[in-house]
Symmetry: C2
Subunit: 231 residues, 2 copies
DNA sequence: ATATTCATCTCGCTC
DNA sequence: GAGCGAGGTGAATAT
């Protein structure tokens, strides 16, 4: 990994065209040839970048560029597309290289999949007597998160999201349309389950006869833990 | 901006919990206190990070940590949420600070907004005699990209996407439902315009009586350019 | 290989 | 501040 702090300007062309005026920035060149161009603020997203596979070619400034104060030109060309990032360095304030080795990578825990597993295990949150049919119930247009039956034996299709917005209701609506064509399942009613359900999504769901269930992650995890201790 | 190359492990807890095993990485501390933790590969996204507003507190390793080989502990705490990143540094290979100043920011050009402007200018792509009503026509559920009228005076609502998939058709459907309740506009028909329309989206659109229009960006830009030269 | 879905999404805009 | 839509979305996963 090479770290360069330099006053530079940059031009990106590819899926869009973008220009960065002259300023002092951090340039990171990774082992795979990818380049990041960071300012001293904002988020984790660079101002500009080139994703691998790509190739960096460093050249001296031509006469024209040198007249503008450019000392080095970096051309980063994507290997497969015509995406290209051209950086003109005016002053190099720092330049160092480091051997980092391979990274073992991030280990994550606890997202939507976890919600699905927990709700399947605590299916009575839907109502007393509810029974799980299966998670990831396959259909022609994709798997339904959870299929269940209520105490009376009627089918329930559940769509789970971390944040419940309008798209999730649309998705569940498509599933319901399809599932209700199956005489073994019909009539199927829908339940939209999420940690947080946006007002517009709730209105749309209610309008379509879809129930809303707000999931309390911490509470469910608490039940999950005691269950784990019991068995 | 402070750049540190160090062998470290990290724990993030907040919207999820995540762990990074011991490895050599780049740590970037920005002027606003945000921290990025980069490996020597992957994309522009850090392995782990903390977004501003947040505060970094560096402490010496306690006895327990020192026994594990830790020399420094960084605790990055988010100012408003309980998001927290704890980094244990085992060996510091590089440490430097740099004054970067404020960045003027990126200047973008040419994405969906550009498609919208060009289609508005070349509205007869919809059919001879078509006239533009306005771009970003406001409705209660968000702005319609383009509202137009055909040669016969009938209203057309256009949704523009770079890549036309099923969500865009759903979006346009919601707009059409709403617009058709307005007696000044009804009947309103829909046109789904995109650089590329996915088969599933085309089927759904056709099924709902929505027209599909594939936009040739380069050709439109060509017309746009000659237009610019003519006037 | 392609298609779908999630994301500690981020970012920008409008209300 | 909340909501909504776009992204050079990227990344993972199922098909």
């Amino acid at each position: 990994m090479r770290l360069v702090v330099a006053t530079c300007s940059a031009e990106y062309s590819g899926r869009l065209n973008a220009h960065l005026p002259l300023a002092t920035r951090l340039l990171v060149v990774k082992a795979d040839g990818s380049v990041l161009l960071h300012s001293d603020g904002g988020s984790y997203k660079p101002l500009n970048w080139m994703s691998p596979p790509c190739k960096l070619v460093v050249t001296a400034a031509d006469e024209d560029a040198a007249a503008r104060g450019v000392v080095q030109v970096w051309v980063v060309q994507h290997a497969k597309s015509d995406d290209r990032l051209v950086i003109e360095l005016h002053e190099v304030l720092h330049d160092s290289a480091h051997e980092l080795g391979v990274d073992p990578g991030l280990i994550k825990d606890g997202v939507e999949a976890h919600l699905q597993v927990m709700l399947a295990a605590q299916i009575e949150l839907l109502g007393a007597g509810a029974r799980l049919v299966r998670r990831e119930y396959p259909t022609a247009i994709g798997p339904v998160d959870i299929l269940a039956r209520d105490a009376a034996g009627a089918t329930i299709a559940i769509e789970i999201k971390r944040r419940g917005d309008i798209d999730g209701v649309e998705q569940l609506t498509r599933y319901l349309e399809l599932l209700n064509r199956d005489p073994h399942l019909a009539p199927v009613r829908g339940v939209f389950a999420a940690q947080e359900i946006k007002p517009q999504a709730r209105v749309l769901a209610t309008d379509r006869g879809i129930g809303c269930l707000v999931l309390d992650y911490d509470a469910m995890r608490g039940v999950d833990d005691s269950g784990a201790r019991l068995f």
